[in-house]
Symmetry: C2
Subunit: 385 residues, 2 copies
């Protein structure tokens, strides 16, 4: 199922599921005694308490909701139009980690930021490179994003200046939410990894490329990213994605044993789409990508993350890194699409973009379609102000 | 005052203050109606709720506790020996950021990890370099630290191996705890920065140098650090450190205006000491340093952190980075003391250490002594297992 946190006007946020164009209020279902477990979790303002109940309860919730939906499709007070409600950040995020798992993205960025001849660094094919991100500034889809100030020093400048970023970018990512606590000092094996994943959501890791470029050596991205990241409001349970499983790219060299998955289809085949809409303008689809391009799977990311004993907690978020395909029509950031700003993109209204302009709205969407199955993952949108 | 979270055997953790060799149980004082504000915060298992009440309440707490202490020194049920209680992690840490604010440390590490001729990177003197760390694996002093496994590829190896770190290290750091929420999109100015700091504590940012070296380019330290970091149990309020304020090193070039402090003495003069105690062995003091060596002040760190609009929250932790002085007797890590492992240190028991051995306990201590004032900040200790 797809879980989110919504509120009616003047009421406190609570748990709902997405059902087509409607939201089903699980707190109403709790009052109707639909559940045989402690359903007070559905009155919480975040999904963490529900998630922490574990997969067996999630399975019971699914069965009980579906059975109720089948029998009570006209029980109106539980149904809301998605337009009537306000969506909130679905999870209280503990730690947020951002990976760098698309080989095309890592290669493209390596060419621009570092050495075109050796774009992919020596460690990249051996481990899912990642870094810790900022959890406090993760916002729900629909939240405006303020153009950040920061220190910038570009070629030709004698000294850095503090000014608004001129290279504001989006990053097309998929994130997963940790569904189970692990213990400090105890790695999660690759075979167990998926038991620790509750579900996935779309993620836009907004980036200020000029700030990032000046600050990131040697300790990694910091203020070039931490001004905002946007999460879609609906978390799709991993089990709903079974029909969309697929093999990932061939990993060469073979991963070390602790990262070697025995799962045949560790990746997901989900179509991704990025739309840029200028202020009062026409939307232009500027990229179409797919989660199947990711070189490192979610299970590999999670196992690597805990391989040193680092503990994970319910509500932690791990993002994939920008998901780019092989050619420019599938690149997941403007940095790549515009080749570092050198080749601006022309939008449907005729205007050009090397990076984002004030008033631009970026919308990421995802869906799966395979063998007669279809799933919508919804969208994550944000406007630059 | 110095606040911490303690528990009696078989009772739940609650708030206390350190008073010499004793702990004063503030929940007992709450029952005795010592406070004129909502003192339910003293029954909480973390300091966050108390901290969130703000500096005016902290001031009232101080006055009311001190007045009670003066009048009721024999009221025994409120007093406990520090040996009778168990100390816990004092704050529920939201986001943890680690800076890199000692010029000596950055220079020493730059020489070893990168270019000896250009050890200090171009951005270092312009901004307090920092990165996001892992909050979930921060533990209270006294918690054992398990030697982590990780991918390592050293010179001469054809491919990386997954194995226990052979270069386990400590880092001598001071951390501060954020005392007030800021708003996303609204930077905290350098003049306001100290209003957002509740207090400080000792911090050991354990590091696995071989794991770190292989993974950290280009996105920064990740699993080389996230297996554990240790925090001292007592948080010393910033106001108690007034007598120990001092000027920092001359900053050259002058910081950009947003980082230019008008405070004359933005740094702290606190003596730091690192002791290494082998299993069943004799303690050896292996370093003496001082917080006054830090190039970037806490206010500058905090202001820089929020300068892009990134919001901070009560309970966030910001650590200084390793605090090294000018010579080897004041270096804040074994990496520096042993010159990257080449010059092992001889301990009092005759054994040698390039990096930490199993069974070693590292203890960091801090105190201030100035103009007749003395303050003990306590210690943070951890044993390698």
């Amino acid at each position: 199922m797809q879980y989110g946190i919504f509120s009616y006007p003047n009421e406190s946020p609570r748990v709902g599921i997405r059902h087509g164009d409607r939201v089903v209020d699980l707190s109403v279902l709790a009052e109707l005694d639909v559940f045989d477990f402690d359903s007070s979790v559905f009155y919480e303002p975040f999904l963490n308490e529900f998630i922490a109940l574990g997969k067996e309860i999630h399975e019971r919730a699914r069965t009980q909701v579906q059975s109720w939906l089948t029998g009570n499709a006209t029980h109106l007070e539980a149904y809301l139009s998605v337009d009537e409600v306000t969506m909130h950040l679905p999870v209280r995020i503990g730690d947020y980690t951002d990976f760098y798992s698309s080989i095309e993205h890592a290669t493209n960025v390596g060419k621009m930021f570092r050495d075109p001849e050796n774009a992919l660094l020596p460690n990249w094919r051996h481990l899912p490179v990642g870094y810790h991100g900022r959890a406090s500034s993760i916002v729900v889809s629909g939240t405006d994003v303020k153009r950040p100030f920061g220190q910038v020093k570009t070629n030709g400048m004698d000294a850095p200046e503090f000014r608004p970023t001129e290279r504001l970018d989006f990053e097309l990512e998929m994130a997963f939410i940790v569904g189970k606590d692990s213990t400090l000092g105890e790695p999660v094996s690759i075979d167990e990894a998926e038991d620790y994943i509750f579900g996935i959501a779309l993620f836009n890791d907004w980036s200020a490329r000029d700030i990032q470029k000046w600050e990131y050596v040697p300790l990694g991205p910091f203020l070039g990213k931490s001004f905002a990241s946007s999460l879609s409001p609906w978390i799709t349970e991993l089990v709903d994605l079974e029909p969309f499983r697929t093999a990932g790219p061939l990993q060469s060299p073979a991963p070390l044993p602790y990262l070697a998955s025995r799962v045949e289809r560790p990746n997901l085949d989900l179509e991704l789409e990025v739309t840029l809409t200028p202020k009062n303008g026409t939307p232009t689809v500027i990229s179409r990508s797919n989660t199947k391009f990711l070189y490192w799977s979610m299970a590999q990311q999670l196992t690597h993350h805990t391989s040193n004993g680092c503990n994970i907690r319910v509500g932690d978020l791990m993002a994939s890194g920008t998901i780019s395909g092989k050619d420019a029509s599938s690149y997941g950031s403007l940095l790549e699409i515009s080749e570092g700003g050198r080749k601006p993109l022309t939008l449907k209204d005729g205007s050009e973009r090397a990076f984002l302009a004030d008033g631009d709205t970026v919308t990421l969407r995802a869906f799966g379609e395979r063998d007669g199955n279809r799933i919508e993952l919804g969208e994550v949108a944000g406007r630059v102000v």
